[in-house]
Amino acid sequence: MNLQFVVDGLLAGSMIGLGAIGVTLTYSILRFSNFAHGDFMAWGAYATLAAVGAIGAMFGKIAPIAPLSFGWPLIAAVVIGMAITGLLALLLDLMLFARLRAKGQAIIVVMASFGASMALRSLLEFIFTSRPTYFSRAIQIAMPVGFGIRITPDQIALLLLTAVLVLGVHLLMTRTQTGRSMQALSQNAALARIVGIDVAKVVRVTWIVGGALACVAGVMIGILIQIRPFMGFDMLLPMFAAAILGGIGSVPGAVLGGLIIGLAEAGAVQLIGAEWRAAVSFIILMTVLFVRPIGLFGVRER
């Protein structure tokens, strides 16, 4: 078996993991599985694409940074895209989810997120058509790094970026007051309110972090594969599977779950064939639900 699947799996796992962080935070703090999360990815990718276009229009053509396929415009655009995606998530919460949450039926919120997902995705199809687009059409030469593994500079940069982001979210969750409030709210909402935690603020931070990370994951998919309106929807099942495998509410769990699923998918592509890739997350999901429904790092719900 070719070891190349390790690199492919780690990359796929990074995208899944970054998305799964948002899923697991929404699930543990707002108590619903957000089917629109995948579409945040797609919106983030398209927002970044639009920002790249705007920067290009303002500053003319800019050469990429030496070995990478992109230059500073993309980096600046990602930051803009993250802000836009975070705002989109906040807006959706304000208009839809918060109102339904106030009515108190968790599963209605899930259904609304399903409707919102459909509307968001089709809106992208309407604006940008369903034809795939790319950040760059340049072809990168993969460098051999031994053991039969090849890796491109872009891939190295994105793996590093993922590591930095995951570390950042982990520090946010464990070392800052906001992060501790988020944990408190997910563990015991009533008690968190009693000790005076600003629930509205925690909810806002949750959406912004989730949306921003989804945007990064979407841009990664855009750089390494392609941008299409359905790109996020296709990631939904792997993301849910990763969040549940890692244990709902656990950020390290979501990332680890994502990496496991990414590696399993890449392995399956080599052994069985690419067309069955999407079944891998379903099999892992079912196994977790039968064997250990609280996941790797989950805590039993009270």
């Binding site: 599985s33 089917f35 839809l96 039926q105 209605i108 899930v110 509307a119 079944a279």
Partner: protein, 327 residues
Amino acid sequence: MMDLLGYGAFFLTTALIFSLVTLGLNLQWGLTGLFNVGLAGFVAIGAYTSALLTTPDDAARLGGFNLPILVGWLGAMLVGGIAAAITGIATLRLRSDYLAITTFGVAVVVQLVALNAQKLTGGPFGIGFIPRPFGGLAETPLLFNLSNLAVVSMVTLIVYLALEHLSRSPWGRVLKALREDERAAISLGKSARFYRVQAFAVGGAIMALAGALQAHFTGFIAPDNYLPALTFQVWVMLIVGGSGSNIGAVIGSILVWAIWAGSGALTSVLFSPEQQARAASLQIVAIGVMLCVILLVRPNGLFGDRPRRPKFGKRSKEAPDESTAKS
């Protein structure tokens, strides 16, 4: 005039097949509170099962077994019911969201099998030559459409009456009790999980039957018929009609299908052919927004059950506590 009548019959047949799926969903969601976002998968299971059982022998794939259409329908219900039961057994002891995620996964996997297991499903090209009831009348479209309408109406009526009977029976009352107040129902000695698996399986069987009916009505099926958009359409139908009401499910289906077909016809008139894919996506945006607005403004739809009573006092504003979720 005859054309219009023929189209009317064709339209109603499709709408009634949709309403059959909606009735299945109403049993799962409206009556029992089980959230199924993968219903397209169960419809597909029914369609493919029935197609495999009834088509003439085909060297390129497994079967067909050339069995009577009725056997195909029963087989579809059986397989659809079993698939739903397995899904239910895996997830119904867990939080309600897990069922949603799992059903979503079922739809993804069914779609994958339909596309890739060429030996079983014919792959992307689907299965053709599915026998049609009254296929001999295909020469005269009006007669053909009317006789199909009669068959589909009959099946819908039977399922409707059966469901009405079920929801009034002791079995249906247990389901409602579980939906309204699980703790009280359990304290009366009802096994929540067992009843829910049953309801989910029966609902899945009805959806599969609808898939089979549709397959035999059009005579041809392909993976594209069972995309997530189908799941979405049926949900809108149920929510518009009002979840919990069987008559609402039927009327909601006809109404939403009329809106869907009507706006589709409108876009094909208004937009040039190359713009039509974009216009179609705008159609879905509109329906998605409609679903959200109905959930916000009139969550009980046109004929919904009486509003569910608020449980355990006033809800907290931001995060509902665990009592809404099944433990």
